[in-house]
């Protein structure tokens, strides 16, 4: 038989099978599970957040790129419109000049005569035309006869120039543009735009031409600057040579774009406008370019913004988001790490706790073994001298009665009775101890049958008493039958004892239902007691009545209380002097601590 804990509440806390024990063993298996789920949820949430952020940043990036493309297209369109307008005006002016310069003025002999008039016309056209630095007229040989320049400018001969020959030899050529030249007067880059003057018979009589100052266009490019590394350029569309570029790249002027250049490929595809991302040959900057080809003239303009500059805001945002994501990620990881560590500590703590519970249980079992030995010793060693007292006194009483007088016999009788009473006391104490330690066997108990049996036994022992028993039928409980029997013996025995002075002792055993609990009661019409003393009613050796009046050891109710408590129940009493007493008790719902 396994020794049992002395106190029932101690059993609750420490025995391995108790509720506390189960909680301890359950938590290590539950905690990591919830931790794993939490970690899984956090990781999923973090991944979702990263994907969402990534998507948002990608959308943002596309938006930035599209904005940059639209911007470059707009700038290219502005430039295209500006240049187209300039060239149209120039063409119109040259047409007009070709008509206004008299054919007769187109020979060297007549020149001095016409000089003032033609100069006037030229100067008139030059006015308010900042893109053009000069207007000039040649004869059929290429001899420059008139100019808008101030008088005294030395004459020059253009007969060997490619653009002169082109306009002279091709009657279909209306307007010819030269490559980039360095102006003799200004020293600045210019482009010559030349037109033939022909008579009614379509005979070539001379030319009128303009020098277009590229510096003026460069200023235009500068004025459009967007971002430090924006770029604008003007190329020839017939031979893909560079005319003008901002920022300047003088060594590439008049040099054709290399074969296979993406710009050249985009231009030859005929898409208008073309947008592309390209790394510049000139400065190595990657730009988003928009290209527009002029409608009537052999040029196209390009406008480009540095991709890095355009994306600067986005890059900053992306960087910020990445840092924030890293920070939050680190925070989450740190929290998870701490959670896992705490879990580990909890696990460790539980292991230690279980170890402690085991150690305490072992201690308790030890203590119980000692108690067992102690109670054995009491029942044996204490009873041995007591038996000598009781037995010898009785033997003298029986065998040597004639040697004593009445007084002596009476005293001897007292000795014998005292010894027997002490024997009863020891028995009661042992029962109290046994009730506390006994292994409980919970089963269905008929309280009615137990009570009826006890009543029957009491009446059998003292048939002279005219007592009335009222025992409620069908009282059942789930409890330890032996312990419940001991409890009922004590309670009904008490009732029997304290009602003994009544003419008709009345003892009732029954139940009442309160709050779903079955409350058993044992009621008598005996002497009762003063409720003022109820506090010590269930303490061992405590008695409310004199030994002379009612014999007893004062251990009975303490025993009943232990039994009720071991079943997880409660006991209380209600009484009044001379009006009887009622003892109530419950037996718990599941039958208590199960030992």
């Amino acid at each position: 038989m396994r020794p049992l804990p002395v106190w029932s509440h101690v059993t609750h806390l420490l025995s391995p099978g108790s509720r506390a024990g189960r909680v301890v063993s359950a938590s290590p298996s539950v905690a990591p599970m919830s931790g794993a789920i939490l970690a899984f949820v956090v990781v999923i949430a973090a991944m979702t957040a990263i994907l969402l952020l990534g998507f948002l940043m990608w959308v943002d990036y596309r938006h930035e790129v599209e904005t940059a493309e639209a911007m470059t297209r707009n700038y290219a369109a502005i430039l295209e419109a500006r240049l187209e307008a300039t060239f149209r005006r120039l063409e119109t002016d040259l047409d007009e000049l070709a008509a206004r310069v008299p054919l007769a003025a187109l020979n060297a002999e007549a020149a001095p005569r016409y000089e003032a008039a033609v100069h006037h016309i030229l100067a008139q056209h030059l006015r308010n035309f900042p893109e053009v630095s000069g207007l000039r007229v040649t004869d059929a040989s290429g001899e420059r006869l008139y100019t808008s320049d101030p008088p005294g400018t030395p004459r020059s001969w253009l007969g060997d120039r490619a653009y002169f020959k082109a306009v002279r030899d091709d009657p279909a050529a209306r307007l010819v543009f030269s490559e980039v030249l360095v102006g003799r007067v200004t020293g600045r880059n210019i482009v010559v735009v030349i037109r033939a003057i022909r008579d009614a018979q379509d005979v070539f009589r001379g030319t009128v031409f303009a020098t277009v100052d590229l510096a003026h266009m460069e200023k235009l490019f500068q004025s459009l600057r967007v971002g430090a590394r924006a770029s604008f350029a003007l190329w020839r569309s017939d031979n893909y040579t560079q005319v003008l570029r901002w920022p300047p790249s003088p060594d590439r002027v008049n040099v054709p774009l290399p074969e296979g250049s993406p710009v050249r490929a985009a231009l030859s595809s005929g898409v208008r406008p073309a947008t592309l991302e390209v790394r510049s040959f000139a400065d190595g900057v990657t730009r988003i370019y928009a290209l527009y080809k002029l409608e009537r003239y052999p040029f196209f303009v390009g406008s480009g913004v540095s991709r890095d500059d355009t994306m600067e805001g986005w890059t900053k945002r992306a960087l910020f988001v990445a840092i924030a994501a890293l920070f939050v990620g680190g925070l989450v990881f740190g929290l998870l790490h701490r959670l896992w560590r705490a879990e580990g500590e909890l696990l460790q703590f539980n292991v230690e706790l279980e170890e402690r519970v085991r150690a305490r249980t072992a201690d308790l079992e030890n203590a119980n073994r000692e108690l067992e030995a102690f109670s054995y010793s009491i029942s044996h060693d204490l009873r041995t001298p007591l038996r000598s007292i009781a037995s010898y006194s009785r033997m003298v009483e029986l065998d040597y009665a004639e040697c004593l007088d009445a007084q002596g016999r009476k005293m001897l009788q007292r000795v014998h009775e005292a010894a027997k009473k002490m024997g009863v006391l020891i028995e009661d104490l042992l029962r109290l101890s046994r009730v506390t330690r006994a292994q409980m066997k919970i089963e269905a108990v008929s309280v009615t049958e137990l009570a009826a049996g006890i009543a029957h036994e009491l009446q059998r022992q003292e048939p002279g008493r005219n007592a009335t028993f009222k025992i409620q039928p069908d009282m059942a409980a789930r409890a330890d039958p032996g312990l419940v029997a001991v409890a009922l013996e004590n309670l009904i025995g008490n009732a029997w004892k304290f009602a003994s002075t009544r003419p008709v002792p009345y003892i009732e055993v029954g139940t009442v239902e309160t709050g779903g609990d079955t409350v058993y009661f044992v009621r008598d019409n005996g002497v009762g007691f003063d409720m003022g003393y109820v506090g010590n009613l269930f303490a061992p050796f405590h008695r409310l009545h004199g030994e002379r009046e009612f014999p007893g050891t004062g251990i009975g109710l303490a025993t009943v209380k232990r039994i009720v408590e071991r079943h997880g129940g409660r006991i209380w009493a209600d009484a009044a002097v001379d009006l009887g007493a009622t003892f109530y008790f419950t037996l718990g719902r599941q039958g208590g601590d199960h030992g």
């Binding site: 029942s379 041995t384 038996r387 000598s388 037995s391 009785r394 027997k420 028995e427």
Partner: protein, 138 residues
């Protein structure tokens, strides 16, 4: 009637008096031999030259060799194994009674505080084992 001696194994002098008193009251004429500890009892019981007792009244709480140990060795001895044994205890523990019967005791008597009840109990058993029961082989 079996006139072999009765063996009383008891260390407590008072208890010896009560047991002898009970035998006297029972009217059983057999000689009572007293052993004061377990070893003395065994020495006598396991000696082939000594006559076996008609029965043994054996206290469980003894010096040197405990009553239960005496019982165990007695039951293991080929000659003495059928000697009737009545165990005697002052404790009210059920465990003593159970252990006694498990080791082969024939009866169990609790040393009562009531000397009359004790005397009556011993008397009945003494009369039984010396006179009424004749079925025990020698």
């Amino acid at each position: 009637m079996d006139r072999r001696p009765i063996l009383l194994v008891e260390d407590n002098e008072d208890d010896e008096v009560f047991a002898l008193h009970a035998f006297e009251k029972s009217g059983v004429p057999n000689v009572v031999v007293v052993a004061r500890d377990g070893q003395q009892a065994l020495d006598r019981l396991l000696d082939p030259d000594v006559e076996l007792p008609v029965f043994v009244l054996l206290d469980l709480k003894l010096p040197k060799v405990s009553g239960l140990e005496v019982l165990k060795r007695l039951r293991a001895d080929s000659r003495a194994r059928f000697v009737p044994v009545i165990t005697l205890t002052s404790s009210t523990h059920d465990t003593d009674m159970r252990a006694s019967y498990e080791l082969g005791a024939n009866s169990y008597v609790c040393k009562s505080l009531d000397i009359e009840a004790f005397t009556e109990h011993i008397s009945v058993l003494a009369r039984y084992w010396t006179g009424i029961n004749m079925a025990i082989p020698d």
